[in-house]
């Protein structure tokens, strides 16, 4: 074996665990028992679409022909995988109503960034690169939207929400002009409401030559019912790990394919998966492409699962969305009396309550309600998001839950509202009987310990985390 020059050779072995397999398996089994997944129980984490993850999808992704396929395999040796990618592109184009698809982005957020890069490239070719610097974002938007804008080198122009929960169109008119590159909108919005003025909004942006980006996080509400392309959007990302059931894995992986109108197709990342007769291939010859946003072609294993999910429904995907909306409205009907409902309209696949009154009258917060729900065996909803709703509780049941589950969740919500009045301490001290109680996030941020404490571990410079408690949890 060839000699490694001494200055390049490892000087001290890494301190990795030294456990035999039996103890290793026990360790990770034990860790899993201190975690809560969809398999454990109801998980109405708003904006995250925590639906059942069919196990057949895991089986299919593990087929050796997929799992052990090298990404640089010659095209002739990867026809099945390329065909799967192509068919998924076709399906997503049909579902979104936009003809050209790139599967490359690794998640929704990267889909957003990619979409904004497409805008840049599009305007650059028109010589409008300098002029168009603004991206309009409603105040209900998810944090990734503005963050993506900054990463893409654009500036954020915020726009207000009106009293019905739609974008405030007057405010919008005042802010959209020739300097506007585009809009980023989630529709239905993070309030779980479909923007009734979407057609007008489209006119406003297209009127000034700006583009419209659709954040697909809430696509689960409208599959087969209304398509972003038909709403007028030019670019959309799809969160395969939400709408199309890629398991979320405790944080990832995900998939954030984007679909675009034909005028933006030339700028899509390379390679594109193309078909020529019954042969499938990779097309790198896209002179106007923005380039690559991640390695190779995207998270293929995610494609297998999500495409399997789509094929399991076929055209009945519409029923998936209908039931998602039905479940949400049902839970809303059951719990609305006990909580504040900032926007009183039929919701879509999710709805946002406020614990404002509970807080005012009993000094009980959305966080307390969330923690108390754990005692009832439920994962809490998303809280403190969207930001415009104080003490927000954002509830998304998804279509895969049984009525019995929804009923018992609603009962718990009502019971907790009663407890807030009668025995607020019960909520403040929640959760009970978990491996740990509420953890000190401020201390964690002040004196960060982010790796196992081997003796000589250097101290990290911390930061104030005063806001730790009221920060968004979920989405």
């Amino acid at each position: 074996m060839p000699e490694i020059p001494s200055e390049l050779r490892r000087s001290e072995p890494p301190r990795l665990p030294e456990l035999a397999e039996p103890d290793l398996l026990r360790h990770f089994t034990e860790l899993s028992t201190r975690n809560f997944g969809i398999d454990t129980g109801f998980y109405p984490l708003g904006s995250c679409t925590m639906k059942h993850n069919p196990r057949v999808n895991e089986r299919l992704a593990a087929l050796p022909g997929f799992r052990d396929l090298h990404t640089l395999q010659e095209e002739e040796g990867a026809q099945g995988a390329l065909r799967l990618c192509f068919e998924l592109q076709e399906a997503l184009a049909e579902i979104t109503g936009l003809p050209a698809v790139s599967l490359q982005p690794a998640a929704g957020s990267q889909g957003e960034l990619t979409g904004l890069m497409l805008m840049r490239a599009y305007f650059a070719e028109r010589g409008e690169e300098q002029k168009r610097r603004k991206i309009v974002i409603p105040d209900t938007a998810h944090g990734t939207n503005p963050a993506s804008v900054t990463m893409a080198g654009y500036e954020v122009t915020p726009v207000r929400t009106d009293r019905r929960g739609n974008i405030d169109v007057d405010d919008l008119r005042a802010k959209v002009d020739e300097g506007t590159a585009g809009l980023m909108l989630t529709n239905p919005s993070t309030l779980g409401l479909f923007d009734e003025n979407i057609e007008e909004i489209t006119r406003i942006f297209h009127g000034v030559g700006a583009l419209m980006y659709y954040d697909g996080a809430n696509l689960n509400a409208v599959c087969g019912i209304s398509r972003p392309g038909d709403m007028g959007f030019d670019i959309v990302h799809i969160n395969l790990h939400k709408t199309f059931s890629q398991p979320h894995g405790g944080g990832g992986p995900g998939g954030g394919p984007i679909a675009v109108g034909s005028r933006l197709e030339p700028y899509l990342p390379v390679p594109a998966v193309v078909r020529d007769g019954d042969r499938y291939g990779l097309d790198y010859d896209r002179p106007r492409t923005i380039g690559k946003v991640r390695g190779f072609y995207g998270p293929f294993g995610v494609f297998v699962r999500s495409y399997a999910f789509i094929r399991a429904y076929g055209p009945t995907l519409r029923e998936m969305s209908e039931v998602a909306v039905l479940n949400a409205n049902y839970v809303l009907a059951l719990v609305r009396e006990a909580y504040d409902l900032p926007f009183d309209r039929p919701c879509m696949h999710e709805f946002v309550l406020s614990a404002r009154t509970l807080k005012r009258e009993h000094a009980v917060t959305a966080l307390d309600v969330a923690k108390r729900l754990m005692d009832y065996g439920f994962h809490p909803p998303t809280i403190y998001f969207p930001l415009i709703v104080p003490e927000a509780l954002m509830i998304e049941p998804t279509e895969t839950e049984a009525k019995e589950t929804l009923d018992s969740f609603a009962d718990a919500m009502l019971e907790i509202a009663r407890e807030a009045a009668e025995d607020p301490e019960l909520l403040k001290s929640a959760p009970h009987g978990r491996p740990v109680g509420r953890l000190d996030e401020v201390r964690a941020a002040k004196r960060p310990v982010v790796r196992y404490q081997f003796e000589e571990h250097p101290d990290l410079e911390g930061e104030p985390a005063a806001a730790a408690v009221e920060t968004p949890k979920g989405a």
């Binding site: 299919l60 963050a147 399991a312 039905l326 809490p380 953890l439 964690a444 990290l460 730790a468």
Partner: protein, 440 residues
């Protein structure tokens, strides 16, 4: 449709409770102009059994590591994934959980990430690791972001001997960051420290790969020193599997270490999903993109883990965040943790040595001229096959062997060059077979 739980009776009851007579009414807010008004044009629904049959057919059309003797690498490698990795990843409590926003219900994932961060810090010799990035390319862009804000400089340097996928992604991200990208050519398969030093003036960071795209061991300490001398952050793109035998980047002055985690515990899966790792010196922690898990305690003093330093992140900082990332690659990073824990320090060294020894054997055995014969290589090397590599590949594949990657795809003047990767899964007999096939 067995993914849906409601009976017809349930639906009627629920509609009544809501106070509407049909599901359509719930969509009243949708303007008619934006409604689809027809069925989706998708193939008919398939039963689980039909799904399985169809996907098995698609899978059978691919030549995978089990059906073809493969020496493909160039960034993703056919290393052995132990069964315990599958066993852990199939635990539903981990597989089907969201990002751990509620720590009391997420100690399993949180502690696992904490252990992952520890392992990455140990392997790279650095202080902090995030919970994972998308892959080995996007973490390079993340490193550029950190460096830009740490130095206030507007240029990044990348060696040409860095994997082209990585360079392409950096170039795609750079304009948004307001960064210019400069590439430094390789000289005979490795990077010249002096040349790098010259390019590094006013650079926010210098990214090099160790071992580099040709499998060659760079004079990494010298490259890091050159960067540091120009007050640019030295960034090493490394292979976790090499760090049992190769020095930890933190030990030779790197500020940041990044890389593609696939080789450690992930299947090939046609390129994803995998995990990118990113570790840095502690002073850069507040600039780091991505989730970070920290240790703390509850009121009773029980130790516990939480997402921490969140004011870096988009859900709090929004347009001022260090990144837009939210969904990451936790499950794949968990696979990495299980794999590295299964190997342990000795196992990691053994795998590295085995790969290197087998690759060494292959270099001799192939008897084809090496492109960079003077250089020390790790598990991959470049050979000239005396004809267009594409032809050599086609000919070999016809005999059931994939001989490697055609470097000409990315590097000029290398049309006759194959990049051959040899992992611990290959045997000497298989290498002999490769030699035979390439010779024929």
């Amino acid at each position: 449709m067995s993914y849906l739980a409601l009976t017809d009776a349930d639906r009627d009851e629920m509609l009544e409770t809501i106070g509407v007579s049909s599901i359509e009414e719930l969509f009243a807010d949708l303007p008619s102009g934006v409604r689809l008004g027809r069925e989706l044009d998708l193939p008919p629904a398939l039963s689980e059994q039909e799904l399985t049959a169809y996907f098995e057919e698609l899978a059978s059309l691919n030549a995978h590591a089990g059906s073809e003797l493969s020496f493909l690498g160039a960034g993703l490698y056919d290393h052995y994934v132990p069964a315990i990795v599958d066993a852990v990843l199939q635990r539903g409590e981990l597989l089907t959980a969201y990002t751990p926003y509620q720590p009391e219900l997420s100690q399993g994932v949180l502690q696992a990430i904490f252990e992952y961060q520890t392992a990455i810090c140990e392997l790279t010799g650095l202080d902090v690791s995030n919970a994972s990035g998308y892959d080995g390319t996007t973490v390079a862009a993340d490193a550029c972001y950190i460096a830009k804000h740490a130095t206030g400089r507007a240029k990044v340097v990348v060696t040409e001997a860095t994997n082209p996928q990585v360079r392409q992604v950096v170039k795609t991200y750079a304009p948004g960051f307001g960064l210019e990208v400069v590439e430094v050519p390789h000289r005979g398969g490795a990077t010249d420290p002096d040349e790098l030093r010259a390019a590094a003036d006013d650079a926010a960071c210098v990214i090099f790969q160790q071992p580099n795209v040709f499998g060659v061991l760079e004079a990494a300490p010298a490259l890091a020193a050159a960067a540091a001398d120009a007050e640019a952050l030295p960034v090493a793109h490394v292979d976790l599997l090499s760090l049992g035998v190769l020095e930890a980047p933190g030990r030779y002055g790197c500020a940041i270490a990044i890389g593609e985690g696939q080789s450690a515990g992930n299947y090939l899966s046609f390129g994803g999903p995998h995990y990118g790792f990113l570790a840095a010196r502690s002073e850069y922690v507040r600039r780091m993109p991505g989730r970070i898990v920290g240790e703390t305690a509850d009121a009773a003093g029980n130790r516990g883990y939480v997402l921490t330093l969140q004011t870096r992140e988009q859900h709090i900082r929004r347009e001022k965040a260090t990144s837009n990332i939210t969904t990451n690659q936790t499950l794949l990073a968990l696979a990495g943790l299980v794999y590295l824990s299964w190997l342990g320090p000795e196992g990691l060294r053994d795998v590295g040595e085995t790969c290197m020894a087998l690759a060494g054997y292959a270099k001799e055995r192939l008897g084809q001229p090496l492109v960079f014969s003077e250089r020390t290589t790790f598990k991959e090397f470049a050979v000239r096959v005396g004809r267009p590599a594409k032809e050599a590949i086609a000919a070999a594949r016809a005999q059931g062997v994939h001989p490697g990657y055609a470097l000409g795809r990315d590097y000029a003047g290398m049309d006759d060059v194959l990049l051959v990767a040899v992992t611990e899964k290959r045997t000497r007999a298989e290498i002999d077979r490769l030699a035979e096939v390439l010779a024929s």
